[in-house]
């Protein structure tokens, strides 16, 4: 039995810690790394860091929407890889095909995810687990068990999309930034965004309030699939080939950065900015561990895992 007063302060506390907790950690991490590792602050390193983060940010953007509706999308890792392969294969037919093909196919798989989840009330976990397997299988089938790696012609315009730069900063960084700003606006400044919050916060109430919950869910999973495909296409353009082995476990990376960014895993609350900060945090940790050199790169996962646990435990405690 909590009085309104105490729940209010708890809520404010939660808000501050969720919104600013990750940000504070990021600032601290950056400051310390800057001082301790001379190479960390070099422009080259920062550019590289941002570029690496941009691919994950695009995937995590879609995941943020999905998680706010109270769902989960396990298929994005596979769709990321599939998107890359489709883009590489499509690049022989020109820029447009290379870009559109992964978006369409991955978007379609996302749409099917959404339809199954919204219309048949199946658990998102199961549905997207099935598409994780499906997309990975499809990928292996069209690449001869992964033996066949499609290369993108180096003179193709599509390569420019992944490798072009402005002041040395790669195009994917700008693409991810624009998408995240758009995503934040959609979430907070459009009816669709409000519906996303309502669907995840209290589904039954949202239905009674006239929110098109099913439609919202379908759209959110379509978006997540499409964004994963786009991230794949950008990665392929950057690597100049459709690498078949990437994306294994990427869905878990995406989920962790979203949660570290303060989005409630149970739905109804979250921000795009938090997700971006979460991406930054994970990438800085990775970068630092690489700089230490003597440290096994597997410690990246150890540190990210600990971080995730701390955040989720904090969310639990603060929600009480």
């Amino acid at each position: 039995m909590t009085t309104p007063m105490t729940t209010l302060t708890a809520a404010t506390r939660t808000k501050v810690l969720q919104r600013q907790g990750a940000a504070v950690a990021l600032v601290l991490m950056v400051a310390v790394s800057w001082l301790v590792f001379p190479r960390f602050g070099s422009l080259d390193n920062l550019r590289d860091l941002a570029l690496q983060g941009s691919f994950l940010a695009v995937i995590a953007l879609g995941m943020t929407f999905v998680i706010i509706t109270g769902g989960i999308d396990l298929s994005v890792g596979s769709l990321y890889a599939l998107g890359g392969v489709l883009a590489a294969w499509g690049s022989q037919y020109g820029f447009l095909v290379a870009l559109a093909l992964p978006l369409l196919v991955c978007g379609l798989i996302g749409l099917i995810n959404g339809l199954l989840i919204a219309r048949t009330n199946m658990a998102p976990f199961i549905v997207t687990l099935a598409s994780l397997l499906f997309a990975r299988g499809l990928l292996l089938a069209i690449t001869d068990e992964g033996a066949n790696t499609y290369q993108i012609p180096p003179d193709s315009a599509f390569v420019e999309l992944g490798r072009g730069t402005v002041f040395g900063f790669g195009y994917p960084i700008f693409i991810a930034a624009v998408l995240c700003v758009l995503g934040g606006m959609i979430l907070n400044r459009t009816s669709f965004g409000q519906n996303v919050f309502a669907a995840g916060g209290a589904e039954q109430s949202a239905i009674l309030m006239g929110v098109p919950v099913a439609k919202t869910k379908i759209l959110v999973y379509t978006m997540s699939g499409t964004l994963a495909g786009l991230a794949g296409a950008l990665t392929a353009a950057y690597l100049q080939s459709g690498v078949t082995v990437i994306g294994v476990g990427t869905e878990l990376d995406a989920i962790s950065v979203v949660v570290i960014g303060g989005t409630l895993l149970t739905g109804g609350m979250g921000t795009v900015l938090g997700t971006v900060i979460g991406v930054g945090l994970i990438k800085v940790i990775q970068n630092v561990i690489n700089q230490i050199g003597t440290l096994d790169s597997n410690y990246q996962s150890v540190v990210s895992g600990v971080f995730l646990l701390v955040v989720v435990v904090l969310q639990r405690i603060l929600r009480r």
């Binding site: 039995m1 209010l8 907070n188 400044r189 919050f197 209290a202 039954q204 109430s205 009674l208």
Partner: protein
Amino acid sequence: MPTDPVIEVAGVTKTFAGVRALDDVDFTLNRGEIHALVGENGAGKSTLIKVLTGIHTPDAGRITRKGHISTIYQEVNLVPLMSVAANLFLGREPRNRLGLIDRARRSADAAELLTGYGITADVSSPLGTLAVGEQQMVALARAVEADADVVIMDEPTSSLEPREVETLLEVVRKLHEAGIAIIYVSHRMDELYRICDTVTVLRDGRSVHSGPLKELPRIELVSLMLGRSVNEIQKHGTTAFGEDHYAGREPVLEATGLTSKPRINAVNVAIRPGEVVGLAGLLGSGRTETAKAIIGALPLDDGTVLVAGKPVPHNVKAATKAGISMLAEDRKTEGIIPNLSVRENIVLAALPRLSRFGVISRARQDRIVDTFITRLRIKVSSPEQKVAELSGGNQQKVLLARWLCTEPKILLLDEPTRGIDVGAKAEVQALIDELAREGLAVLLISSELDELLDGADRLIVLRDGAVAGELEGAQLTREHVLGAIAAEVMDDADSN
């Protein structure tokens, strides 16, 4: 009144997994009327409403609607994590020139709108941080603002304080003046007679009466709802408390000097086994707080609680162990576990008592559950039915049964009959009485004066968080109580 139907229902039937919730129901709502929809818990009122608004598809029958319908459902239907302003304008957000949501205007509009309903809370805070009554008012504001032709309210007052009820009735009157038709569901006879023109009575899913309300005597309305003759009801009366039975025993509960600034100040409460002590007072006089202080749910500045002469540490766990149980006022949002069965929900708190060496006797469970289902007239298809499928009032009866079957020594009841229909109300009162006869000490809080006068052996009157007087025996009359509280109570009290 000329008939100009905005909603017409003919022969509607709706069945849930074998339960016939609506059976060949006819219902007509005319333009501009306030139409009361009444019936026992589980009679089918909420189901009829959900059929009208299209949430449920009827199995058979015809529905004609003209114009836009706006509904406040029985369960508070808002999103707790979203801000108050976002909830208020969800689906019709004010936009700027770019077509984006204008958040500043949304907040300003929300704040302005809510002041009209007596709510001054920060509109940017999550809705869930508001008190249940305030949330209900936000739901009301939302429904009313959606420029509707018909507004449906399913038990809008069941979680409101008397003052908020007045605000709500005022809103209803304004809607009425604006020519909006209203369907009003409530178990509070007073409200119905004050505002409604017409009444439709549902019983076991059938519409058994429809007509003007004013000409229908109260007792006849009750008899239509319960399906019993007027004579029978007169014989039993509408409250069912019996005689006193606590002859000269030592108090089992002694709470002294309970102080929690600024809400309560040096409140003393002593209850003997078998005694029912009532707490009377205005809204905000500290009744609920006193009960919470006794069970250890309110931080205390000062005060002690003794059970059978032994001090009880000030926390809920220790209090429960010492034999104190409390039925909270806002139980609508607390305690029900929707996906468990009725049986499981009832025995939940009593499990430790029912088990021997960790083994729980199913036969004993069934016996207890059956007793409560019959005594409280809980309408279920079987004890194994999920609680989520019960009507709102029946869910409350399940919670009441849960606390009653823990066999506490001291039972704190905060508005035990709220949201419960007239028939079951008498049953609940009779049960409280019977438990008291078996030696239970009861603290009874009720905003219905009659319930207090009939039920309590002694009344403690609170004013501004302090004891303003104690009434006993011949002093237990309306006049004495009203005198002790304040003149304003006259409005809130239930009159016959």
